[in-house]
Every structure is written in structure tokens, then in C-alpha cells.
Amino acid sequence: MNSGQSLFAIGALLLLSLTILRVNNNILLTDSMMIDSKFGLIANSIATSLIESATEKYFDANTKEGPCLQSALTYPPNKESGETKPFNFDDFDDFNNYTQTDTVSSVIFYSKCIVSYINPDPENVGSLNNSVSTRTWNKKLNVYVTWRQNQQTIGFSADTVKQSTIYSYWFF
């Protein structure tokens, strides 16, 4: 085999190697996306569960026995003593700063809840996202779920699932 043929052979091998590496890279990347997508489904179910759990509670600790003045609502939203888990929470804002971990299919999901008052303005859709530092008849729960980060970084990583709900108080 002369040197020209050797060069062609080396070039062909190089092309083949690059193709194989590229294919492997694509396969691994797609695998990773598929797994993320699968875990995203579970994360969504956990977030929905937390929202379901929160919206079956009372609006506020002070509305358990009946209506109250707006000035009597709990501020800042927080849990009362002895309330540690959703099953012994009695009102919506007990979920503020609540964190939990769930292990599903050997994967650990970290969840964090934030409750805040909001003041919805029909002419300003953005008001639904702005928490206010006054008591109102509307509270918003943001649930963050992730499966990569530790609890301290929940909400800041790109793969965090975020779901929200607004809970308002009505009395007839």
C-alpha cells in the first residue's frame, strides 16, 4: 500500500469515527431529553397534588369559624405552631415555605411552596404575578418541583417545574 492509499484509509477511518461519535452524542442527548420529559410528567403530578391539597384547606386560619375582617387575616402568610405536614395543615397559607421530597422510581423530587397575597387587577394581567405586602382576599400559591437540585436552589434551575394557583375567599 503506497502512502496515498494509506492517507485515504486514514481519512476514511477518521470520517467514520466522527460519524460514530456524532451518532452516539445524538443518542445520549435524546436519551437525556426523554428522561427529563418523563420526570417532568412526574414533577407535574407532584405539583398538581400539592395544589389539590392546598385548595381543599380553609382560606385563612381566621376564616375557619366564619367570615372575618380583612385586617384580621394572617400576615405574613405562615403556618401556626404544630403544623408540619399537609395532613395537619388547616389553611392555605400553611403551605408557605413548605418543602417536601418524594422518591418516585428511585428519583428524588424536591418541592417547595410559596404563598403570597396578590391584588388582581382586571386591566393589568401582570398583577396576578405580583405579590403585595398587604392583606387581600386573594392568595397565590407557587409550587416549584425539581429533580436535579437541592432544596436551596429550587426555582432557580432551568428544569424546575412551576405551577401556580390563586385561591380567593368568598362568603355567601
Partner: protein
């Protein structure tokens, strides 16, 4: 033809054969992955469809458009929404609700999981059919590859209620677990997707917690 030439030919054949094997393996892996990814996508879409349908129906347990004018078909007494679930076990549940077109009359809805023998024509040995029955009519279903549909029931104190639950008004929230797999897969490597609704509390059922 000298010995060196023969050695060259033999060497080329070995290297060529190895390269051919590599290329064929690459082609096989690509084909397998293509099938797996499509299967995975189908599984996730099927799971989402099921989860949406179940959540939509279960969230409306006990709902009726004319809630104060309805008579419970089982007791002939005024309908109490917290008693809408009249039978439940690990993989089936029957309850009253008001289905589309929400005409104010109470409809019965039943979900149950069929046996694996019904899907013996599919390569996956575990897939089953999840049935939805409206008002005792013919069951409606399609094979979406459900391999597990399991419910856990909780009472007002958040304690588990052992199935079957026949006492009405006991269930306040439900945990739903659904696993979906491909009905057929490349090389029998079935993809699966999992949905775990840790708590699904129908408004009409759980609200009774405050009434009792």
C-alpha cells in the same frame, strides 16, 4: 502473488470486516433508538391523555348542575355530594356526577381495569384496558398500554381506607397511580411512563370536611 500481498489482502479483509460490523451495529442502534423514542413519545402522550381524562372526571365527583333538586338514585333521598362515591376498590371506582351536557341530572360513572387476557394479541404481556362506563352503558375504552392503575383512598383524617370501600361518604381524597407502557416495542424493550397523583380531592367530596 507474494506473501506480503496475501498478508495485505487478509489484513484489509479483517479491518474491512470490523468496519462493516461497526457500521451495521451503528445502523442497528439508530433503528432501535428511533423506535424507542417514538414509543416513548407515544407512551408519554397516552399517559397525559389518561391523566387529563381521569382528573377531569374525578375532580367532578359529586358535581351536579342543579345540586339542590337532585335525588340520590340509591336512597331516593336528597343527593349529598360527599356521598357520591358508592363503590371503590384498588383498581375500580363508581360514583355519581353530572356529565356533559351538564343538564342537572345525575349520571353514574365507573372506571375499571380489565384483565391482561383481553390484550393477549399485543406483544406486551402486561398491558390492560382501562374502561370508562357512563350510566351503565357499554364500556368505552382504547388500549393505551395501561399496565397499572391503582388507587388509594383516604378518609377525613388522612388515614388509608382498606378497599373495597362500600360505605358512602368515607372517601375524602384519592391517590392515583398510573403506569403506561408500549403495547409493542423493538426487541421487547418496553418504555414506560408513570403518573402519581398523590392527592386528588374533588371539591364536592372534600368540602364536606367542613360540613361534618
Amino acid at each position: 502473488m507474494g506473501f506480503t500481498t496475501l498478508l495485505d489482502i487478509a489484513g484489509s479483509m479483517i479491518i474491512g470486516g470490523t468496519l462493516m460490523m461497526i457500521v451495521m451495529r451503528l445502523s442497528d442502534a439508530s433503528t432501535e433508538k428511533t423506535y424507542n423514542y417514538s414509543g416513548e413519545l407515544i407512551v408519554q402522550q397516552n399517559l397525559l391523555t389518561l391523566a387529563e381524562m381521569i382528573e377531569f372526571d374525578f375532580r367532578k365527583i359529586g358535581f351536579c348542575n342543579t345540586w339542590n333538586a337532585v335525588v340520590d338514585p340509591r336512597t331516593n333521598q336528597p343527593f349529598v355530594s360527599s356521598q357520591a362515591i358508592y363503590y371503590a376498590d384498588g383498581s375500580s371506582m363508581s360514583f355519581y356526577t353530572d356529565l356533559y351536557p351538564y343538564n342537572g341530572s345525575l349520571d353514574s360513572l365507573r372506571y375499571y381495569l380489565g384483565p391482561t387476557s383481553e390484550c393477549s394479541s399485543t406483544p406486551n404481556p402486561r398491558d390492560r384496558i382501562l374502561y370508562r362506563v357512563e350510566n351503565g352503558n357499554a364500556a368505552v375504552a382504547s388500549n393505551l398500554g395501561v399496565t397499572d392503575f391503582r388507587m388509594v383512598f383516604y378518609d377525613v383524617n388522612d388515614d388509608t381506607i382498606p378497599p373495597p370501600v362500600v360505605t358512602r361518604g368515607l372517601i375524602k381524597s384519592i391517590e392515583i397511580n398510573i403506569t403506561v407502557e408500549n403495547v409493542a416495542a423493538y426487541d421487547e424493550k418496553y418504555s414506560n411512563a408513570f403518573w402519581k397523583q398523590i392527592r386528588l380531592a374533588s371539591r364536592n367530596v372534600s368540602r364536606s370536611k367542613t360540613d361534618n
